[in-house]
Symmetry: C2
Subunit: 369 residues, 2 copies
């Protein structure tokens, strides 16, 4: 195999596919990026069997062929080469030279025989959304998936399509995040649980421009994202997702409207007296037209009050400050509404048009002081 | 004690003095910052017994007093408070409230009784240099102090003043870094070994502006840096420094002139095939008007040549690429001269005016291939 391509193009492609190279693995072929030039273009492929990425690099093929190169070394070398033409050449035994100007690297590649290519998938069933929208949806939901594997379904993000409505949901047992968007076109109803890891990696790769699009193809076992010259294929998580509608209460006994920035800064200050990992609740005392935040720990105590609009009853309730911050940080509104039902029911942050719903369970506060 | 000051001023002061708070210590008083308002101004002091820092914060004293507050908590709280007036008040039992707008923190302080104040030092013997110069001198030498404590002297940076010449030296057994500058005024000869840790912290605090100055006071046991509203006092390292002049050879059998940027990039590429911590030498083959860099490891091999000017004999020599990079990165010249004396003598990088000398020992290469 012999190819020539610009450093910029090669590096761009390697940065994309290396997202599917596992950090640790016992199978050394998984740590490789496959360079496949058998089909008329230069394709880079990485595949950790859960997620696979394939992208096309602009360049010239002087001699067809295939080679698998260690991802880290290939990326490191390319990154450090001058901004110029890079020539990659392999011989029969996969000895590979990477040349650029007067610099010449020789490393040992592998045959592509053991490498698993991405499976061909059916492309009949799909939706199209903008890269900006997908990037936002991931950012606004992926923080509340479960970080432990005990319940695999909780590590995924649920995509539910009904007509022209896409609802994206994540939950971890303490909170639920929901985002709704309207698709440009109606399509068949679909329900699919996508590993949040895949979505996080895709969010890093896509440009996030509103004019750039992503095609998302659905099949029984896989979901495939196609954009620019890149395909990302991911296994879906099997099983039935939780019935979140049962958990969302529309009634409320207290509704408050609060300035988001002021609220975030105040909660951040309250966390200063809590050790990382400690689940100490911040107490929110809603009374008259203020909310007072209070926290007491071995390090000291803190209190601060914020002016709010209130509808309904006074209330004292405890929340994990981290969970509130996570949700507030992905909401773009300047003023947010929180709906409450006594101190033992979840708090729900949502907007009037229900573009977003963030539900957070309260922490029991025995000593309401 | 009761004081009021702007958040900006308090935070600036805390950031400065916290440089003298040790990361780990069994003596909890060392992890505190002392707020001393007994002498008509608000002084913040931290002192880890090797290095002490004192700075003055602009603000109003409503009630005189002293309190020692946990440095981390004090800094974290101040950082997160709004940009407004901060009121700090302590009672008889050192319960301390920190108030800003509607935010109110209560933490427990300590009396200052156990706290070691900075010793008063004599201010007769001193030099004045610009903050920019001091910052540069530290950056250009501190990288080559020894990182282990076996020989304490090697962990310090040597300041040697003769007339109006200040020579700053560091060494670690494999290399020597020397910088020379001319002082504005002549002064008595001085020799002092300053802990590199102190100098690194000072370099972080000072602005690095050429018009801002630092006064450096010398006494038997201490060196004191005074700038802006801040005093940094450091113990000096006792002992006789190495006679580096004996190690500097002025003869050479080979002299090369090389483009620094090209050389740095080429060495950086050669390190890609070396595992961190591995002391594998890069081989430099000087021949005709080129230098060829070669390296071979279990990962592969690399070679690259650069055009150079050469005076004297051809030569093949091995160096630790890290040591070369460390020196090259603190040299501002575009073209550098390297003086060599066969493959077993040190390489010396220096400029014609001897503003800098960087000596690096070669690594023995048995198999000159």
């Amino acid at each position: 195999m012999k190819i020539v391509c610009k450093k910029y193009n090669l590096l761009k492609g390697l940065n994309i596919v290396s997202k599917a190279v596992p950090a640790k693995t016992t199978m050394s072929i998984l740590q490789c990026i496959l360079v496949d030039c058998t089909k008329g273009n230069i394709r880079l492929i990485a595949n950790d069997t859960e997620m696979g990425i394939e992208t096309i690099v602009e360049g010239d093929i002087l001699e067809k062929g295939v080679v698998a190169l260690d991802a880290k070394m290939f990326l490191d070398i390319t990154r450090k080469l001058p901004d110029s033409d890079i020539t990659i050449e392999t011989d029969q035994s996969y000895k590979t030279s990477i040349k650029c100007n007067k610099s010449n690297f020789n490393i040992l590649g592998k045959s592509g025989d053991e490498f698993s290519y991405l499976p061909e998938v059916d492309r009949n069933d799909y939706i199209i959304i903008s890269q900006l929208t997908l990037k936002n949806l991931v950012r606004q939901t992926s923080f509340s998936v479960s970080s432990n594997d005990v319940n695999k379904i909780m590590t995924g993000i649920y995509f539910e399509i009904k007509g022209d409505n896409l609802r994206v949901i994540s939950l971890d047992g303490h909170r639920i995040s929901i985002r709704n968007i309207i698709l440009k076109e109606e399509t068949d109803d679909k329900k699919v649980i996508i590993p949040s890891k895949t979505l996080d990696e895709i969010a890093k790769i896509i440009t996030g421009e509103s004019e750039d699009e992503v095609n998302i193809y659905f099949t029984d076992k896989y979901v495939t994202f196609e954009f620019d010259d890149t395909i990302v294929l991911s296994r879906i998580i099997e099983g039935e997702y939780f019935d979140v509608d049962r958990m969302l209460i529309n009634d409320f006994s207290t509704k408050i409207s609060i300035d988001k920035k002021e609220f975030v800064e105040c909660i951040e200050r309250s966390t200063l007296l809590v050790n990382e990992g400690d689940k100490k609740p911040v107490i929110f005392a809603i009374k008259g037209n203020t909310i007072e935040l209070r926290i007491k720990s071995t390090m000291g105590s803190m209190n601060e009050s914020i002016d709010i609009d209130i509808e309904g009853d006074d209330l004292t309730i405890g929340f994990n400050p981290r969970f509130l911050l996570d949700a507030l940080k992905v909401i773009d509104d300047d003023v947010i509404d929180i709906y409450l039902n006594g101190s033992r029911s979840p708090g729900i942050i949502k907007d009037i048009d229900v573009n977003y719903i963030y539900l957070i369970l309260p922490i029991n506060i025995n000593t309401v002081d």
